[in-house]
Every structure is written in C-alpha cells, then in structure tokens.
Amino acid sequence: MTRWSRFNIVSVVLGFAFLYLPIVLLVIFSFNESKLVTVWAGFSTKWYVSLFNNQGLMDAAWVTIRVALLSATVATVLGTMAALSLVRYTRFRGRMLFSGMVYAPLVMPEVITGLSLLLLFVAVGFDRGFWTVTLAHITLTMCFVAVVVQSRLLSFDRSIEEAALDLGATPLRTFFEVTLPIIAPAVFSGWVLAFTLSLDDLVIASFTSGPGATTLPMKIYSQVRLGVTPEINAACTLLIALVAIGVVIASIVTKQRELQRQRDEQAAFAGR
C-alpha cells in the first residue's frame, strides 16, 4: 500500500503512544516499592495487599459494582426501547423532543445533569443513597445504549421482520425471535458501555449519592486530593484490568456470534 506513507505511520504511532503512555506508567508505578509514584525503587506488590486491607475502598468498590450492574441492565432495556422508537417509528407526537432528550445527555456537562437530578430528588423528598445514584446512572447511560443500538438498527434488513409479521407472528414475538437475536451484539456492547460509564462516573455520583453509598470514584477522588499514592495506582490498575477483561470477552463473544451467523447463512444457502 503506497498510501500508508511514513508521515501517516509516524502520526498514528505517536498518537497511540500519547494515548497509552500515561496508563502504562500508572500501571508500572503501582508495583513500585517506594511510596513515591515518580521514583522507581524496585518491584513490590505490597500496595495491592494494603489495598485489600483498606475496608473503606473495598466497601466503595462493592457499592460501585452493584450500582453499575443494576443501572447498566435497566439502561440497556430502556436504551434499546428508545433506539427502536427512534428508528422504527418515524412519526409520533413529540418525536423531536424525544430525540432531543436522547442526544442531549451525551454532551451535557455532568455538573448540570448531576445538579438537576439532585434538585429533583430533594424536591420530591427522595432520600439520597444507592437508589438515587442508580436512577441517575440509568438516565445517563440509557442514552449511550440508545445510540449504540440505533446504529445497528439502521443497517438492519427490515424485510426479515416484515416476513415474520406477514406470517402471523405478533410484534412482541417478532421482536424477541427475529429482531433481538440480530441486534444482540449491539445490545451487549451497549450494556458493557453503560456498565463502564457507571463504574467511572464521579461527578453525577457525587451529586446524587448520600451517606452510606460512596462509590469508588468518589473514594479515589477524595484520596487523590490528599496526594498521589501507589495504593491509588494499584486500585486504578485493578479497575483497568477489570475493564480490559470485560472488553476482551465482549469482543470475543461478538466475533463468535458473527462467525456463527456467517456459518448459519452459508448453511442456509447450501441447504436450498
């Protein structure tokens, strides 16, 4: 390929170095013997040991994982519904407002979303804690799920759906037996995205959380303000590892499904 010139290679390599170097350095220094995160003093896993003995961090991690699991699951259902309404039903009352409400949270500064949800919870007298964070995260992440699923639905051959309906399947059955299996990879990656967004969020969680529901990012943030320690590096490394494993599993599942689908199609053609 002559188009892949030296300039192109250099810019891509430099770009990736910029994207990955800070994360790599952070992981390396989590194994540092010294308390300083900038001077290398030998390999050690002692920060991981002290991390697991830090009850506050462990509690926060547990809260975060529960919030993320619950909110990602509900957000995936709601987001898929929103995507279906946007793609399939081009005309219904208030569609403009609806699409606006789906896209706006994607770019809305988190301080505004967080503050407005907090004021809502206070106005209706809802005690802040686990449930308010979960509700807030559902609202934010369902929009991301909607966008991911929507892009899959747009490239979807609708004649298969129409065939099912013509043959007398109810819309509900058509959805679960025809549409959902086809869009499943997008729904799944939407779930993973929602899960990691929830795991990651600091600002909205800080606004909407209450006593007893401190999430891991809130805990990390309050410790970072006191100073950078290898223990935080260790916590971050574990989070990165968790997400990396999730992404790898997700991509393997997607790939296998894709292969399976291709095999099925070939088998179907061969059978005719």
Partner: protein
Amino acid sequence: MKALGSSIFSRLVIIVPYVWLLLFFLIPFVIVFRISLSTTAIAQPPYEPVFSLADGLSGIIDNIRQLSFDNFVWLTEDALYFNAYLSSIKIAGISTLLTLLIAYPIAYGMAQAPRTWRPTLLMLVILPFWTSFLIRVYAWIAILKPEGLLNQSLLSIGVISEPLIILNTNWAIYIGIVYSYLPFMILPIYSALEKMDHSLIEAAQDLGCPPMTAFWKITFPLSLAGVVAGCMLVFIPAVGEFVIPDLLGGSQTLMIGKTLWNEFNSNRDWPVSAAVATVLLLILVVPIVFFQNMQAKADEKGR
C-alpha cells in the same frame, strides 16, 4: 409498517423511555430553573419558598410572588461568574482546537492504513475510553509534577536545565482535556475520511494538482462533517468540565464547572448554583441543538 405501528407493544416501546426521560431529564431542568428564582434559607432544603400542595392555591400564588430574578442579577454583578464563564469558553475553545490539530493526522493516518489493520487501530483508539476518566486524569499528575516523570526525563537528556512548571497551570488543563477527549475527535473524523472515495484524489493528482492543494480542496471539505461533530463532542462537555480543572488546574484557574461545584458543596448556596447552571445551559443550548440536528440528519441519511 402498520402492523408494528399500532400494537400495544410498539406504544410501550415509545412511552416507557419517553416518560423516563421526561421525569429524569427534562423535569429536573424545570426544577433547576425554579430553584434559581428562590432565595437561600437556613433550612432543609436550603432555599425558599418551598412549594407544597398543602398550602392551597392562595399559598402557591403567594410563593410564586416570592420568586425573583435576583440570583441572575447577582451573577452579572459579581465579576467572578462572568470571568469564569468567559475563561471556560476560552479554555474549552483552545483545547478543542488543539484536540483537532492532534486528532486529524491520527484519523487521517488510520484511514490510509491497510484495510485489514483498520479494525484493530479503531479498537486501539476506543480502548482507552473504556478506562476510567478519573484514572486517566490522575495519571497525568505524576507525569506533570515539577519532580514528575516528564521533567525527570527532560532534565536527564538535557533539554531543560530547570523543571518546567506545568501542573496547576492552564497548560495542564489543555493537556488533560486533549488527552481525555481525543477519541471523541478521532472517531467522527476517521469515519468521514474512511468513507471517502480515494479516486477523487487520484483524479486531482492526474490532472496535476499538488498533494497539499488536493488535500485542502478535496479531502478536508469532505471530512468537514466529521470535524464539526468531533468539535461539538469535545467543546460542549469541556466547557462544563469539573474533574480536569480541579485536579490538574491551579487555584487561580477559573472554570464554571468548578465554580458551580464549589458554590454548591462548599458555600451550600443552592439557588445561586441553580442560576449558574441555568446560564451555562443557555450558553450551551445553541451548540447542543446544532449537535442534535446533525445527529438527526445523520440518522435520516442512514435510513
């Protein structure tokens, strides 16, 4: 599609997310606006008047009379807020420009890469996005500190004789924003460039057009939609950014997200923070609506 369009199932599909977003996205803004018109009080919740159906109609009318735009007047009188808005827009604008300058060559290089490599390259751009935002910002503290890794390496190879002071300045914020939002800029530009028909460039070159001119006359205009989308995705959230200025910026850095956070958490002045949020929303409403129209148009094309 009539059969699908009229069933209970399809109604439910529209109504459930619609009502959810109305309840948890739109109505909260109405509440923010309403609280921005109240006054601070030492009470729970810390503002008054508090509307309650128990007051009856006359009580509610009384309460409405108590609402005022004083908080907005206060925002214009105190130079702090005006400067914070201005400096947020400036910082977000400069960062967006820097992000574009860095992202474009990367996206261009990716689009020119051999076809078999592209999915992997794309995956590599998306991957950092999955790691925590907070962690990525935190990682830069150790790098930018006066005794940090950047200064250590620059000192050891003799480029500088004294450590550079980057942390707690606006430069650290620019670096933080560019780093955190880079994938949002690369992805739309890449997808615009990837779709481009390369024979256009070949035609131009066959007709004697120099490569640089061909780039500015053909490639760049064709990628403009991606550039605009990327700029929106970076600029709008960057204006209200809180974590980056708080962790990387100095005490003298003014950004409205940080001001709002402090007003709310330290000063506990809810009405003023609601007013700050309302004005921020008004500033961003034009780019947000623009972004939504762009998204909607892209959907129409995809259909």
